[in-house]
């Protein structure tokens, strides 16, 4: 692996994606170029349908790009892999497994011995505050709890990259802020490389090192904002709201274009 300019963990090079639709084809992403550094938390922000989830799915290896490529540590992505953990918007827990079994799914596949697995599960259960619910099945949990299990499941597999697709989208405002605080606390402990898709500007400013604003469909990168705020962010600080309104301006332009 070459260092220097190629030291980015994830390189997105000229990625385009189009879907065939009624014989024709519809462009979802056009010429996306992006480099994500190790330990960075990058938020993809844009109006709904702008292709930000599509981009995440391409990085995850679930979808092949129509043109261009994605490199992780210099190696082209050809499919999903355990070094890229995914947290889905709809949780996607295995309903026939308990909370504990869901979290140890990855370590079990990797052949981690049972004693070590128990430690890992206990640690992440505690981290997401679900220690008392280890033996429950997903159907017994609330949405917020399921999402925390999904995050624990992804992290317990120790991926160096975590891809999160609007993970807090289905949560109520209160739970959502708690989860954001949780994630930023976890990130301070674990220093993962995180790509976080959201359509909430507040959420992006709270979490991100950089916010990438995408255009309306077909999605391109419109603008990139570096958020230079301290680790423990105050949502009511002047600098915070400044970033918020600055990004809101840019996003509004796109939303206005989408609904002329």
């Amino acid at each position: 692996m070459s260092k220097g300019s190629g030291s980015a963990r994830i390189q997105i090079e000229g990625v385009e994606k189009s879907f065939s639709l009624d014989g024709g084809s519809m462009a979802a992403l056009v010429d996306v170029n992006l480099e994500i550094q190790a330990g960075e938390l990058l938020c993809l922000l844009g109006p709904s349908g702008c292709g930000k989830s599509t981009l995440l799915n391409i990085v995850a290896g679930f979808l092949p790009p129509t043109r261009g490529r994605v490199l992780v540590d210099g190696t082209p992505v050809t499919g999903p892999g355990p070094e890229r953990g995914v947290v889905f918007q709809e949780y996607v827990l295995f309903p026939w497994l308990t909370v504990q079994e869901n979290i140890e799914f990855g370590p079990r596949l990797m052949g981690v011995p049972a004693a070590r697995r128990r430690e890992v599960v206990a640690r992440y259960l505690e981290m997401v505050g679900l220690s008392e619910h280890a033996a429950k099945f997903p159907l017994q949990l609330s949405g917020g709890m399921k999402q925390r299990v999904a995050i624990a499941r992804a992290l317990a597999n120790n991926p160096s990259i975590v891809l999160m697709d609007e993970p807090f989208g289905a949560l109520d405002a209160q739970t959502r802020e708690v989860m954001q605080e949780e994630l930023s606390r976890i990130q301070r402990l674990e220093h993962k490389t995180i790509v976080f898709v959201t359509h909430s500007i507040r959420e992006a400013v709270y979490l991100a090192d950089r916010v990438v604003v995408m255009t309306r469909s077909p999605g391109r990168i419109k603008e990139v904002f570096a958020i230079k705020l301290p680790a423990n962010r105050d949502r009511f600080a002047a600098e915070f709201t400044h970033y918020e309104s600055e990004i809101t301006q840019v996003v509004k332009e796109e939303v206005a274009k989408a609904h002329p």
Binding site: A60, G61, F62, G79, P80, G81, P82, R84, G85, V86, F88, E90, V92, L93, F94, P95, W96, L97, T98, F105, G106, L109, M110, K136, F137, P138, L139, Q140, L141, S142, M145, R153, A154, N157
Partner: protein
């Protein structure tokens, strides 16, 4: 509570009509057996041991035929559900054969296997195979692609996906297919035994017709109903135990 009340009411209606008919002679009393007559026949057949023998004979046929069908339905269902070329090859044949009422083939089974046990067992196997096979293949095909993505991003290989996602995700559908298949087996055994059998519940019913003993016909039918609902209840209970995770709710 409501269930037993409903059953008692049905029994009372039957008693009222049959005994009423007896008293008023609206139609020939022999044609409308009373609960008492049916009970008397049941006791008589139970005493001489023929009741237990006939139930056992039918039961063995059902279990054997069902077991054979399960083996084939699981084997073929797995192959068709998991290997696309097989599915494409098998689908049109199944779609053609499936709508044929199974009873239409019953005489063929008698021609091939004679009047003995083989024809009944084979017929039950044939009838129950199709719905189970189709149900099993469908529940394998229905597995949510998101679950597969989630597992793949946790490092699952193709073999892991099959063993740890596709199969467990399909289990509820497979279990339901098997339960419905068993119910169907109880259904068709009677038909198979009508067409020449020397024992079994169907034979008992047919005997009631041959010797003009309507209470015996009614008894046979009621007995099948009771056995059917008992077995169905048992299978449902087993299903609930096996699929505990689906039925738990509340936070």
């Amino acid at each position: 509570m409501i269930r037993s009340l409903a059953l008692l009411t049905a029994l009372a209606v039957w008693a009222a009509i049959s005994y009423g008919n007896r008293a008023l002679e609206v139609t020939n009393p022999v044609l409308l057996p009373t609960p008492g007559e049916v009970a008397a026949v049941t006791v008589a057949l139970a005493r001489d041991g023929s009741l237990a023998r006939n139930v056992l004979v039918s039961g063995i046929r059902v279990v054997e035929g069902f077991a054979i069908a399960v083996v084939f339905a699981l084997g073929l269902g797995l192959v068709v559900g998991l290997v696309t070329p097989f599915r494409l090859a098998v689908e049109p044949v199944v779609e053609f054969v499936r709508p044929i009422p199974p009873l239409a083939f019953l005489p063929m089974f008698l021609v091939w296997f004679g009047l003995g046990e083989t024809s009944k067992v084979a017929f039950i196997a044939y009838t129950t195979f199709f719905p189970m096979f189709i149900g099993i293949a469908a529940s394998l095909l229905r597995v949510d692609v998101m679950l597969l993505r989630a597992a793949a991003s946790l490092g699952a290989t193709r073999a892991d996906l099959l063993r740890r996602v596709v199969l467990p995700a399909a289990v509820p559908g497979i279990v339901v297919s098997l339960r419905l298949g068993f119910g169907l087996a109880l259904f068709v055994i009677v038909g198979a035994e009508f067409m020449g059998a020397d024992a079994g519940l169907g034979n008992l019913i047919m005997e009631g017709r041959t010797f003009f003993n309507p209470p015996q016909i009614v008894m046979g039918a009621l007995l099948l109903g009771i056995l059917g609902s008992l077995i169905n209840g048992l299978l449902l209970a087993l299903e609930r135990r096996a699929l505990r995770w689906r039925l738990t709710s509340g936070h």
